[in-house]
Amino acid sequence: MYHSAGCIKHIASFIFLGVLCNAVSVQSTVFMHKPAAMGKDYYVVFPRNGDLVGNQNSATAALINSPVLQTIMITLPGPAHQQYHKVLTPGNARIHEDFGSILHVESNSEVVDVGGAARFQGTSPFNLIGQYGSPRILHQPIRLFPLPAGAKNTG
C-alpha cells in the first residue's frame, strides 16, 4: 500500500477499520478509496457536456438515500446562498428530485462560477447521486421549504 503524508486522517481511518476487521476475521482488509459511500456534506454541480455536442438536455436531478429519517439542509447555488431544508419523513427516506433549473451546469471555461455548487448537508450520513442528461431519473419537482425562523445551518 502507498500513502502520502497528505492523507493522515485517511490513514487513521484505515487503521481503525483494519483493527475492526482483524478482531473478527483474519481475512484481508478492504480499504474503500472512493468517498462515495455515504457522507453528511455534499457539493453538487455538473460540467457542461450533453448540450455541447450531443442530444442530451441539461435537466438535473438528485437521488438521495438515507438510512434514517432526517432533515437535509440544501444551500442553493449562487451568491445569495439561500438555504432550505428537505424533511425526509417515513416513506421517503429514499427520494428522487428534479432540480431542473436549480443545480448549475457549467458553461463557460475558466470563469469562476461564484457559489455555483449547491450544498446538501445532513446530521446523519446519507448517499447522494447527481444525474443529468437524458434519460434522467423520474420527474418529481423538488419541494423546498424555507428555514424556520431562527434556524441555523450547523453543517
Binding site: 500500500m1 502507498y2 500513502h3 502520502s4 497528505g6 492523507c7 485517511h10 478492504v30 480499504f31 474503500m32 478509496h33 472512493k34 468517498p35 462515495a36 457522507g39 453528511k40 456534506d41 455534499y42 457539493y43 454541480v45 455538473f46 460540467p47 457542461r48 457536456n49 450533453g50 455541447l52 455536442v53 450531443g54 442530451q56 444551500t75 447555488p77 446562498h81 448549475h104 457549467e106 458553461s107 463557460n108 471555461s109 475558466e110 470563469v111 469562476v112 462560477d113 461564484v114 457559489g115 455555483g116 455548487a117 450544498r119 442528461g133 434519460p135
Partner: protein
C-alpha cells in the same frame, strides 16, 4: 464529500466528426482556496500547455476548464488528432480541499477512428486525490455478454514508478517505468482478473469499449476508477 488536495486528470476518447471536449471542474470547500493548474493541452481561453496558472476560489465556487476545441470559444480549434483531445496528466494542487470532476463530452473507447463507431456519449467521474491512490489493485473483468469488454488507462502519481501487471496465466509482467502525470495504456480487453502492483501511487481507470450499435446507452456511461485494493 469533497476531500481533494491534488489530482491528475484523466481524459479519454474522441469522436472524429464531432468536437469532443475534454474538461475538468474544480469545486472549493473553503474560502481563500488557492489552486494551481498545469494543463497538458491548450485551454479554451488560450492558456498554453504545461504553463502553470493560479486561481483563487471561495467556498462553493466552481471553476470549469475545457480545451481549445470548445465551440463556445469564438476561436475554437478542433483537434486534428482525436487522441490528443485529452487533459490526462494535468496537475492540480491546492492549499485547501477541493473536488475535481473529469470527463469528455463525447466519449468513444478506444479514442479516435480506432474506436470504429459513432456511438459516443458524455462520461464524467469524480477524481480521487493522489493521496488516496494505492499501489496494488485487483481488476475484475466485466460480466460476460454485457458489453465489449474494458480497457484501462493507469495513471501514475510519482516519478520512477515501476508498474507490473500480474496475469493468472502469464504471471507477473513488467510494463515499464513511469513518471508523475504519465499513464500506461492497457488496450487489451480485460478477460480475466488482473493484479496491478507498483512501487508508488497509481490509479487504474477502466473504460468500457464502445458499442458499434448506436442505441440509447450504447456509449460509455462513465469511467470506473478501481477503488479497492
Amino acid at each position: 464529500m469533497i476531500d481533494e488536495e491534488e489530482g491528475i486528470n484523466s481524459g479519454y476518447g474522441y469522436y472524429p466528426n464531432v468536437y469532443s471536449i475534454p474538461n475538468f471542474t474544480i469545486i472549493a470547500s473553503q474560502n481563500n482556496t488557492n489552486v494551481t493548474i498545469v494543463p497538458t493541452i491548450q485551454t479554451a481561453v488560450g492558456r498554453m500547455a504545461n504553463v502553470p496558472f493560479k486561481i483563487t476560489l471561495n467556498q462553493g465556487d466552481v471553476y470549469y476548464v475545457s480545451d481549445a476545441a470548445d465551440p463556445s470559444n469564438p476561436n475554437a480549434v478542433a483537434n486534428e488528432d482525436p487522441c490528443e483531445a485529452d487533459f490526462s496528466g494535468t496537475h492540480i494542487t491546492s492549499n485547501h480541499p477541493i473536488g475535481v470532476i473529469v470527463g469528455q463530452s463525447w466519449t468513444t473507447v478506444p479514442c479516435g477512428q480506432g474506436g470504429g463507431n459513432e456511438c459516443g456519449d458524455a462520461a464524467q467521474e469524480w477524481l480521487p486525490p493522489v493521496c488516496n491512490w494505492d499501489s496494488i489493485y485487483v481488476i475484475s473483468p466485466a460480466a460476460p455478454g454485457e458489453n465489449n469488454g474494458e480497457i484501462m488507462k493507469i495513471g501514475c502519481g510519482a516519478d520512477s514508478t515501476t508498474l507490473t501487471i500480474w496475469d493468472p496465466v502469464a504471471g507477473p509482467q513488467l510494463q515499464g517505468t513511469l513518471n508523475a502525470g504519465e499513464f500506461w495504456p492497457y488496450d487489451t480487453p480485460i478477460s480475466t482478473a488482473l493484479l496491478i502492483t507498483a512501487n508508488g501511487p497509481i490509479l487504474p481507470v477502466e473504460m468500457p469499449i464502445s458499442s458499434s450499435l448506436c442505441e440509447p446507452g450504447s456509449g460509455p456511461q462513465g469511467f470506473n476508477n478501481a477503488m479497492v485494493s
